[in-house]
């Protein structure tokens, strides 16, 4: 994975020094809250309901063991010994003091990490496929380009006060595990007929109040032109994006209002003026970054070693975990092991410092010192030998990290909601806990197969509810928590915005209603259909009838 050089290290150190000075000026009253707020937000610091919240970037979801240990230590030292992994490959700490934020960021910088641009109206931390570099279906490693973009966008002088936040995602696989079609810019790596690397460029996707699927404005952008082209898009947006209404300020609204063709025309015109920029001359830099992402020294590994086969036969819990939580690796004899942060009744995405330290040790011993964070709020050991799975599983079980539920009904995405978030209308986490308890039976959950439930506590949609197979959106009805249900969403290559099922359901009823919907699916499915397939075949009607039928 990428290693900081002296330039990168100086940059994060100088950034910490700058923010310390800004914090001091805020505490002294020299800076008003209005002046300070955008400065702290670009350093990942929010003021939430109970305290400051620090959102730490895990660039493109990749980190090493030492970095995860550092996160665990920061959570212990400056917070309450746990952290929350988010849908954007970030870690959030919920109980930070402003007067200690500089120290926390300094500790982070010591491990080559930062919280830069995890908030604010700037280019946010870039996300990528969490299976980058190990997926069998990969065209090229998206992290090389995500790192290039991370550096280019860091404190970009022209694009630090955009109309609104700006999110870029990169995927190297046609399967699109980075949800590129619901980002402000989605980049899909591909090769042209000559074998040259380039990108499909998708613009104007997003969730929030007006969910939209992004539009392709370039089928194939040659690799070398990536940064000038991004700069052209950002410049068009910075100048023409709406600033009169924050709900209409995202680039998706601009694309929607002027049309995809006009957007493409403006970007191409701007790009034509920009094409000679030194930014088009980054081949050496791409090669330098790529050298950190070369193939790891995988030793030979038996695809079906005896220790593994025996355990699989004798231990049904282990077998179920392997079936749901491990995935094929591009190298035979290896697998990708996903660690669910969704124990039954737990808080989706939360991990204690002790758990982080245990997982870091696993990565060091069994996964080439490398970990991933998924946008589904789980962790991944990306390079695991089949023969090591039993030992890994035992450690996970001891840490209560062995939930065999990846992509199952219990693998719920939930934003912090009203328990922490200042913008929330309703709670998300307790609903996720109750649903996961209702479906605690592993056999039943495995029988229901792939079900993606996603919960947001307000229309900002941090829980990505629009693209959940079942999406729940918390709303406030006269002081009571209600939940709107959308069905049929998807964030994959077949990205779809879910459809509203009907009137919002009370908090008391919501778990029963989700159960009715899934029972309807179990009754109606044909063959190997997933929930989403059955929904697509039959439409909303049968689900609606069952969901709203009197008990």
């Amino acid at each position: 994975m990428y290693q900081y050089d002296q330039i990168d290290r100086n940059f994060v150190d100088e950034r910490v020094a700058q923010f310390r000075d800004q914090i001091a000026r805020r505490l002294s009253g020299e800076l008003t809250e209005e002046e300070f707020r955008p400065l702290r937000l670009t350093n990942g610091l929010y003021l939430q309901l109970h305290a400051y919240m620090l959102r730490i970037a895990i660039p493109y979801g990749t980190l090493n063991s030492r970095q995860l240990e550092t996160l665990a230590e920061i959570a212990r030292k400056y917070d309450r010994g746990y952290g929350h992994f988010t849908t954007r490959q970030n870690l959030q700490l919920n109980w930070i003091r402003l007067d200690q934020a500089g120290d926390a960021l300094a500790d982070l910088a010591d491990a080559d990490m930062h919280a830069l641009q995890t908030s604010g109206n700037c280019i946010r931390n870039v996300t990528a496929d969490h299976w980058a570099g190990v997926a069998p279906d990969e065209v090229a490693d998206p992290r090389v380009y995500a790192e290039l973009i991370r550096q280019w966008s860091s404190l970009h002088p022209e694009f630090s006060y955009l109309p609104r936040k700006f999110k870029i995602a990169v995927t190297g696989s046609p399967a699109d595990r980075a949800a590129t079609r619901v980002h402000d810019i989605g980049l899909v790596l591909k090769r042209d007929d000559a074998g040259q690397i380039g990108f499909e460029v998708i613009v104007g996707g997003g969730l929030g109040r007006t969910p939209m699927i992004g539009k392709t404005i370039r089928d194939f952008l040659p690799e070398a032109q990536l940064l000038p082209y991004l700069e052209a898009i950002l410049r068009v947006y910075n100048l023409a994006g709406r600033r009169d209404n924050m709900y209409k300020a995202r680039i998706k609204i601009l694309v929607h209002e002027i049309g995809t063709e006009e957007m493409s025309r403006r970007v191409e015109a701007e790009f034509a003026k920009n094409i000679d920029s030194v930014l088009a001359n980054v081949q050496d830099e791409v090669a330098r970054i790529a050298s950190y992402f070369t193939k790891l020294p995988y030793g030979p590994s038996d695809p079906n070693p005896e220790s593994y086969a025996l355990r699989r036969k004798s231990d049904p819990a282990f077998r179920r975990w392997v079936i749901s939580n491990t995935f094929p690796h591009k190298i035979a004899g290896y697998c990708i092991a996903e660690i669910s942060l969704k124990p039954t009744g737990g808080i989706p995405g939360d991990a204690t410092s002790a758990q982080m330290i245990a997982v870091a040790a696993l990565a060091r011993q069994y996964s080439h010192d490398e970990l991933r964070v998924t946008h589904t709020q789980n962790l991944v050991l990306p390079h695991v030998k089949m023969s090591d799975l039993p030992a890994i599983y035992d450690v996970l079980a001891a840490q209560k990290l062995d939930a065999p539920n990846v992509n199952k009904v219990g693998d719920i995405i939930a934003c912090p909601g009203l328990d922490y978030c200042a913008l929330a209308n309703a709670r998300s986490i307790p609903v996720a806990q109750r649903i996961s308890e209702r479906f605690a039976d592993v056999d039943r959950a495995h029988d229901l197969g792939e079900v993606k439930i996603k919960i947001s506590g307000c229309i900002n949609a941090c829980g990505h509810h629009h693209v959940g197979h079942i999406g729940l959106l918390g709303v406030d009805k006269n002081g009571e928590e209600f939940y709107q249900i959308t069905l049929g969403g998807s964030e994959a290559a077949d990205a779809t915005i879910g459809t509203l099922l009907g009137p919002a359901i009370s908090s008391d009823q919501i778990v029963d209603t989700v159960e009715k919907i899934l029972t309807a699916y179990a009754d109606l499915r044909q063959g190997n259909e997933r929930f989403l397939d059955t929904y697509r075949r039959l439409g909303a009607k049968p689900f609606k009838e069952r969901a709203y039928a009197a008990a």
């Binding site: 805020r26 002294s28 809250e33 003021l47 309901l49 930070i96 003091r97 009203l418 307790p430 002081g479």
Partner: protein
């Protein structure tokens, strides 16, 4: 009935305006304004300028056996912590 709440600048903690015009971490200490609270709101604003608190706002409260208690779920969560 209303009370005044804010977040403390240095640690972000939830605080309530007391009768003594100080800030308390405990909602039960909150001063209750039966009628017009705008004067108190303005008064509290000086602590914003002095960089002691941010986000001063009025919230609806009721009186219970234990003392002042917020009405809305959001303010209950601010007062008593996450429900999870």
């Amino acid at each position: 009935m209303q009370s005044l709440t804010a977040n403390r600048l240095d640690d972000g903690a939830v605080v309530y305006r007391t009768k003594l015009e100080t800030w308390s971490r405990n909602v039960h200490d909150a001063a209750v304004f039966e009628n017009d609270a705008s004067a108190a709101l303005e008064e509290a604003g000086s602590d914003v300028i002095r960089a002691l608190v941010v986000g001063v706002e009025l919230i609806d409260v009721t009186m219970t056996d234990t003392g002042t208690t917020p009405v809305s779920l959001r303010e209950k969560i601010r007062a008593f912590g996450p429900t999870i």
